[in-house]
């Protein structure tokens, strides 16, 4: 049997999980992972904790020191791919070197996306997606106190929390709503209270017009609302797939690299997974970006299996997020924002206790959940969605007692499969 060479670009969740899956199936093939960054594999998820001081840079690594040796995988860092030549199955590195592959996984992830604003460039302002970003930010903050964050998505808020915990003053510049993807208006109003009472200053401004730097301060003017100044401006207005190096390769890119159910691109033998890939979603098969660790891990595993010659189909991603903020817990999954006649929605809130509960059903299946300070096991809720567990008889009970009833439904489904998970 000939040994295949699997080349993986990117050492994040998707790349590692693909390598693990290939090795699980095949002990002989050569696996090589190259990373453009000069760090051992880490996850951007932990970077905000670097700001808060909860972890140190030395312990950023996502895997143990002997991980690659044990897995028999070659890992090369600081090796950037600049071109791909599918015709000859070669990649070209920045240093001019070429390397041949039998199959290729594109898992290079995403990078901060910058809105086009006059005066906004990297010399004045700061993005936040890599270790270098967080290093640079910590340097900038050295003798300053006052940070403005442009954006109100997950990263923006996690960074804000990290900074608050370190004692910085934080202004969050919000265009419309905080965590717009994960919270509806009712949940948003509760979350706003939680953030402001913990010291995050929420400033609603539309249309940032210009950014200027003078006297060690950043000044911002807006189309609508008072101007603002801050010592440091951090841009957290989302990420985009890192696809520049693909130009001229013929690989189809939309918002991300478009992949089929096997996580394969339009070119045979080239796969993509993680933040870089645009894949079908679980419920409708609609194409979209899901830049969360879970989707990266699952997509990487599916790609790895197909690369190793065991065909598996990707079920699709489910948007999900669990979020711990100042002692509060927010969990959103699936089609939590769905509206319309196809969906049955149960919702209720208790503003004083900062509780919010919303469940979305379709055809007697749970398809969405938005829970604020409601104790549940997030994974069990996702289980009910993924396994399409029929909850027709007990929607109300699930809404009343989400934790007990979801656990019961999961245990019952496992039991019905014959092999009790506990046995």
């Amino acid at each position: 049997m000939t040994r295949k060479k699997h080349l993986i670009i990117g050492a994040g969740s998707a790349g590692l999980s693909a390598a693990e899956e290939i090795r699980r199936i095949n002990t002989e093939d050569e696996i090589k992972i190259v990373s453009a960054e000069d760090f051992d594999p880490y996850s951007p998820t932990v970077l905000p904790y670097l700001l808060s001081g909860k972890i140190k840079e030395a312990s950023l690594a996502m895997r143990k020191k002997d991980y690659f040796d044990k897995l028999n995988v070659t890992f090369v860092k600081d090796k950037e791919v600049t071109r791909i030549l599918p015709e000859t199955r070669n990649v070209v590195y920045k240093d001019g070197e070429r390397e041949r592959y039998d199959d290729l996984l594109l898992a290079a992830g995403a990078e901060s996306s910058w809105p086009e604003i006059k005066g906004l460039d990297k010399s004045r302002c700061q993005g936040f997606h890599t270790v270098s970003d967080s290093r640079q930010l910590l340097n900038q903050l050295h003798d300053k106190n006052d940070v403005a964050i442009l954006g109100a998505g997950l990263v923006a808020i996690e960074v804000a929390i990290g900074l608050i915990e370190r004692g910085y003053r934080v202004k969050l510049i919000v265009r419309s709503r905080i965590l717009r993807v994960y919270l509806d208006e009712d949940a948003d109003s509760i979350m706003k209270g939680i953030l402001t009472s913990n010291g995050i200053n929420l400033l609603y401004r539309r249309g940032i017009e210009e950014v200027k730097q003078s006297g060690g301060e950043v000044q911002m003017t807006f189309l609508d609302g008072e101007p603002l100044t801050a010592a440091v401006l951090l841009v957290c207005s989302g990420v985009k797939a890192r696809t520049e190096f693909l130009s001229g390769s013929g690989i189809k890119v939309n918002r991300g690299i478009v992949v089929d159910r096997k996580m394969q691109t339009n070119i045979n033998g080239i796969y993509a997974a993680g933040d870089i890939a645009e894949a079908p979603d679980f419920f409708a098969g609609d194409y979209g970006m899901n830049q969360r660790s879970e989707a990266a891990m699952d997509g990487g595993r599916i790609a790895g299996s197909n690369m190793a010659g065991v065909p598996v189909d990707y079920e699709g991603w489910i948007s999900s997020n669990v979020f711990h903020v100042f002692g509060n817990t927010s969990f959103t999954a699936g089609l939590a924002m769905a509206t319309g006649d196809d969906y049955e929605i149960l919702a209720g809130k208790d503003v004083e206790k900062a509780h919010y509960k919303k469940l979305v059903f379709k055809d007697n299946k749970l398809v969405g959940a938005m829970l604020l300070n409601v104790e549940v096991d997030p994974g069990v809720f996702l289980y009910l969605m993924r396994r399409k567990v029929d909850v027709g008889e007990c929607k109300k009970q699930l809404f009343e007692k989400p934790q007990e009833i979801s656990r019961w439904l999961m245990l019952l489904t496992e039991e019905k499969q014959g092999a009790s998970i506990q046995g």
């Binding site: 932990v46 904790y49 997030p378 994974g379 019961w408 039991e415 506990q422």
Partner: protein, 441 residues
């Protein structure tokens, strides 16, 4: 070879309402004042009358470990326990999203995730459970005496057929020192292999239906005469056991020959296309007991040979079922060590092809067969009968027959009759088990 790990087993829906003893013991052991921080969760869903427990199942490929962005979760390959390094954990909570089985929890106070570590081999929850809902199963002894696999990979049995599991496990317990006897039947299609390949790596004797027990008798005598202790083992279907070969079997049993007679019972002649056998249950549809005008499936009940073997006075009789592999392994071991006479093992082996059941349902059917008392697990060691898996609240037979097509035609009245027969057979066995005296003939 993969390791076998110890496991905490929880019976399904078997807790007393509102009991929290396991949770309290866990919280105490882990030094938590708040009971919520226990690593095992009683699940009392009153609205649906469910009372059970839930905890980490220590997965083989833990998703929590794979997703952890801080490298804080690791499955120890020695003891199989998945542990969280509290120092490394950043408290992002991704593991609670990744785990589908509710095995990882988040502590708002310390901002860390936590989970069960089986108290490093001495689980306090199990000790605290007086109702035997929780048990700690030591898997090491099982694997340590599993012998070399004598069955080829890639056997050609029908999809979903458990007979391969039965034979593979049988040979891994009995080992090389075994001669295998078979008769025509569906399993001989794969257990002999397809020319020019052999499917087993030991001596096999293929017999006729009606003389397998006699041939085994002769072989057993021969080996004893030359002073060799060899396992003389059959792997035959129910047709050759309860019908065609019964005369020879009955003779060998009466003489209490030193043989191990194993039958895999799929309740019919499946090799030739699902004809009824003496083991086919009452009302079951087969090609020779069809359902149509005036015909309602099999008109007679099934011949229950395990009890007939007991009444022949042989040394060891047992029923076994692959959904309870530990019980099966124990019984095989006992048969192997029964040196003073015959052992008879009756294995329940669903046939998805013939019964009209989904190919992935065999184990579920096996389990329900026990939980409904359709196929009770019992053994008789020198006449002393013991029920091995007493079911506290037997499930309705309806649940069982719904899993397959062969009972699809059954009316509620017929269902009641079937249930009565099942109950009656179980009562009989239970009465025997309650005797103080062993059954002698």
């Amino acid at each position: 070879m993969p390791n076998a790990y110890n496991t905490i087993k929880a019976e399904f829906n078997a807790c007393p309402p509102e009991c929290r003893l396991c949770e309290e013991a866990c919280a105490k052991e882990k030094g938590h004042k708040i009971i919520n921080q226990a690593r095992i969760k009683p699940v009392h869903a009153r609205a649906v009358k469910f009372h059970g427990t839930m905890s980490c199942v220590q997965c083989g490929q833990p998703r929590c470990q794979q997703i952890c962005p801080a490298g804080a979760i690791e499955k120890n390959t020695e003891d199989g326990i998945v542990r969280i390094d509290e120092v490394q954990c950043v408290g992002c909570g991704l593991c609670t999203v990744a785990c589908p089985y509710g095995g990882v929890y988040f502590d708002n106070e310390s901002q860390k995730s936590f989970k069960c570590d089986q108290c490093n081999g001495d689980p306090k929850c199990v000790q605290a459970c007086p109702y035997q809902v929780l048990s700690y199963i030591d898997n090491k002894p099982v694997l340590s005496f599993l012998k070399e696999d004598m069955l080829a990979p890639g056997v050609t049995a029908c999809r979903g057929c458990p007979s391969e599991l039965y034979l593979r496990l049988t040979l891994r317990i009995l080992g090389k020192n075994t001669i295998l006897f078979s008769t025509p039947g569906c399993a001989c299609g794969w257990m002999h292999g397809v020319y020019p390949n052999a499917a087993t790596r030991l001596a096999r004797v293929h017999c006729l239906f009606d003389n397998v027990a006699a041939t085994m008798t002769g072989s057993s005598l021969y080996y004893r005469s030359i002073g060799k202790d060899v396992n003389i083992v059959s792997f035959c279907g129910d047709g050759s056991t309860v019908d065609i070969g019964f005369q020879a079997l009955s003779g060998a049993a009466e003489r209490n020959e030193k043989i191990i007679y194993i039958v895999y019972d799929n309740e019919g002649y499946m090799n030739t296309g699902d004809q009824r056998s003496g083991a086919t249950p009452y009302l079951a549809r087969t090609t020779t007991t069809p359902v149509g005008i005036g015909r309602r499936g099999k008109e007679q009940g099934s011949k229950y040979v395990p009890l007939l073997m007991l009444f022949h006075g042989i040394s060891y009789v047992a029923t076994a079922n692959i959904a309870y592999p530990l019980d099966f392994v124990r019984k095989l071991t006992k048969a192997m060590h029964t040196k003073d006479g015959m052992s008879y093992l009756h294995l329940y082996s669903p046939c998805p092809t013939g019964w009209g059941a989904p190919e992935d349902s065999s184990i579920a059917i096996c389990k329900l067969a026990v939980e409904t008392n359709h196929f009770p697990l019992w053994e008789a060691d020198h006449g002393r009968v013991e029920i091995n898996h007493e079911v506290a609240n037997p499930k309705s037979l309806k649940e069982y027959i719904e899993l397959m097509d062969k009972y699809k035609h059954i009316t509620p009245e017929e269902m009641d009759e079937l249930q009565k027969r099942v109950n009656s057979r179980y009562e009989m066995i239970r009465n025997l088990a309650q005797r103080n005296e062993p059954c002698r003939v």
